[in-house]
Subunit: 253 residues, 4 copies
Amino acid sequence: MSDTFWKTALSLVERNKILIRGYRVQDLMEYCTFGDIIYLTFKGELPEGREGQMIDMIITSSTDHSFFAPSIDATRFVASGGVPLQAAVAAGIISLGDHHGGAIEQCTKMLEESVKAGTAAAEIVRGYRERKQRVPGFGHPWHDRDPRTLKLIAKAGEWGLAGAHLKLAESIASEIKLPINIDGVISGLIADMGIPWQYGRAFFIIPRAVGLAAHAVEETMRERPFRVIDLKDVAYDGPPERDLPDAAKKSKR
Amino acid sequence: MSDTFWKTALSLVERNKILIRGYRVQDLMEYCTFGDIIYLTFKGELPEGREGQMIDMIITSSTDHSFFAPSIDATRFVASGGVPLQAAVAAGIISLGDHHGGAIEQCTKMLEESVKAGTAAAEIVRGYRERKQRVPGFGHPWHDRDPRTLKLIAKAGEWGLAGAHLKLAESIASEIKLPINIDGVISGLIADMGIPWQYGRAFFIIPRAVGLAAHAVEETMRERPFRVIDLKDVAYDGPPERDLPDAAKKSKR
Amino acid sequence: MSDTFWKTALSLVERNKILIRGYRVQDLMEYCTFGDIIYLTFKGELPEGREGQMIDMIITSSTDHSFFAPSIDATRFVASGGVPLQAAVAAGIISLGDHHGGAIEQCTKMLEESVKAGTAAAEIVRGYRERKQRVPGFGHPWHDRDPRTLKLIAKAGEWGLAGAHLKLAESIASEIKLPINIDGVISGLIADMGIPWQYGRAFFIIPRAVGLAAHAVEETMRERPFRVIDLKDVAYDGPPERDLPDAAKKSKR
Amino acid sequence: MSDTFWKTALSLVERNKILIRGYRVQDLMEYCTFGDIIYLTFKGELPEGREGQMIDMIITSSTDHSFFAPSIDATRFVASGGVPLQAAVAAGIISLGDHHGGAIEQCTKMLEESVKAGTAAAEIVRGYRERKQRVPGFGHPWHDRDPRTLKLIAKAGEWGLAGAHLKLAESIASEIKLPINIDGVISGLIADMGIPWQYGRAFFIIPRAVGLAAHAVEETMRERPFRVIDLKDVAYDGPPERDLPDAAKKSKR
């Protein structure tokens, strides 16, 4: 290994052969759900229970949130500039940062570290309060009974996939009197599957690519190129029109 | 509709309600595969046959192609710069252009227009030859019996999902004596499902997000930051070291 | 050269030495304007006249166009997602496609090919009309006397930098009775400098990075995270809320 | 202001009028260097001394670093996928994160906060050591006498633009016995100009767009599409080829 520039344990490609974590791609195509593949890719082994189907549910929950997600708006503006589909989708994906789905990363990390260290909900909450930070993964501006979180929590119970991490998330929720939001539930579920927090945002990036692609195509097929906002939606509060100072007019050219 | 800036037929979000093409997201989570959701999002209705599962197979085929895909290499370099996961994934997605999966778009368009116009394979091939262009979707540098295409074609036959578009692709293949490649088979299948060619690249973008996320995490966890290539891999053939011409030295500052 | 993976004529880096097209970077820093560097990088040699300063004027013209440019809006939405500065800037840059500054590429190509072939303005215009396409680089929704184009054309005349390409653009403008727009003037000027059309969009990408960076920082410092649009600006015209068909409810799980 | 969705103090656009921080764009084009415009855009006022020319020097220093910068490699791979110029440039820009030019942000922040609080170099260094972190902006793998930093420091002295922040950076350098690197010098200089640290990375993003554009064009014009790495550069250390476990073969389809 030491002499090669590129090293991976993820996949192997040879003539007429593609292996994902050792399995032949045609076997995976035949027998696995897309959620199984995500689990296999990130963890290295196929799930033994219904984890793959739980991931199918997770990613089905987050494909689109209409124009109320900055990712969708960004992709619509970019698509209107006249770019290939993958470029418009990529622009929306870039926006999935700390304030937009990114909390899955922070929340999963917090749950994984806390369960490992045996830190109780009350202590976790106290820590965030002392640092004057919000606990990531709780509360939502509109959805106080989010149909996505309710469904995920119900199925996790039914399928025996709710463990210590989701339980800790629920304890934190009752401590801070805010519901677990969709980021927080996904965090609890993937932590309970043993998926490292570094993969957290992927559970939002992958499905959102579906919605972003559809919005990019809809923009192109239904709207005029170069989307322009309305003058009345803009306010300028910088300096009024002014002349250059005389000193600046000594041309440097 | 005429007065609103943002218009969509894709999704509706209200307090505690998220609809995708009219269906409640929690119902879709309960009963549908991820492939069903992609079909619904792009076509507007749920599949009546096994189209959703065919899409599951399609996207399972294309998550990763190791370092032999420029998308993977690009994401590894970008991840090494120290960026959030979604940004590294987005950089790889940008690369999925005309030469890298983008042929799905061109091939689907060609198949859809040709079937509609009743153009035969020989005539299509003649047109490309006259324009000195390659027919998009045929031939592969390594895989002459690609396990992915063989599996997709077999299942499409078994499930009754192979129609006029895939058949036309097969006729073109025997005309030019090159196998249909993975882009070409996906094109035939989605055209047979009635999905407009504008969505073509999405069938590669969505699954590749899985592989790109895994490579970004692997880069971060296994490699040192700021991946640097080896000096011996670089050749410079520009002008040798030289002094500025005297005229340029009349400083403009 | 044949054995190395990476080849370039642009730059050379060795211990304590950085050469751009053969010149030492510290010499360029001492004596050249940024426009000189752009000229040198793209053409391979330093300008002999005032081309570098003309490029300084070109890039100064296009840093910002307020929210009326989709690039700015896209960057504001992406920045609101909580991402690093370079990621927010990149998202805006992606939007600079065929309908948003990208016309510099198409227009420069057309001017370079037409001057080379000796095609007259009337013939060029006839060709676009027959293909039912707009001639790229002419007309603007608001600016009929764009202060940027007037200044560039005046200075090009004064500095002896207006040649056959800009002249052809002016002939096309009088043929179609639309003013040359900012894209068109930049195209004429860089074609007259002998810069290949493939670099065209760079003259918009580079300066726009300045405006995008400033808008990203302003978004972060003045606005709340996760910019959400107003409900009244959204219209949904897809199917109304509906139940899954019974057939779909035969759970696949 | 309170009723409008978009608010800015950066620019104003009306019919035939474009103002940047209140100045007419045609006046800025006539009299200012590109560095002046960057200063004006970020600070709100034109420089009174030679700050604009110092910024011209800063951005001239960082356009290209050959293939030894991950940004350049990423853009080459992405360009090879067959994408528009702006998309290839954007992919490289995304890589300019914490480990690749991003230190300008961290270093400027540290210098601005330390000068404000009166924290001495020794104390700063002690803090980083206690947190087991590297001080951002110091040391370079190859350049121990970087021609870029030497030139910038010399000119800043000559032009009276070296102040408390650059001085503090020099004190830190002698404390940790590592030279200030290019990120660190830029940080000291822009902090001395009173530019907030949030803009720091922009001083690397803007010039690098020049080099990325040139490398994207060179890739397209000199290389074959779809750049493929050599088999010998790849090592796989994941599981060997294996069959699916029987349990997984109970098809879910």
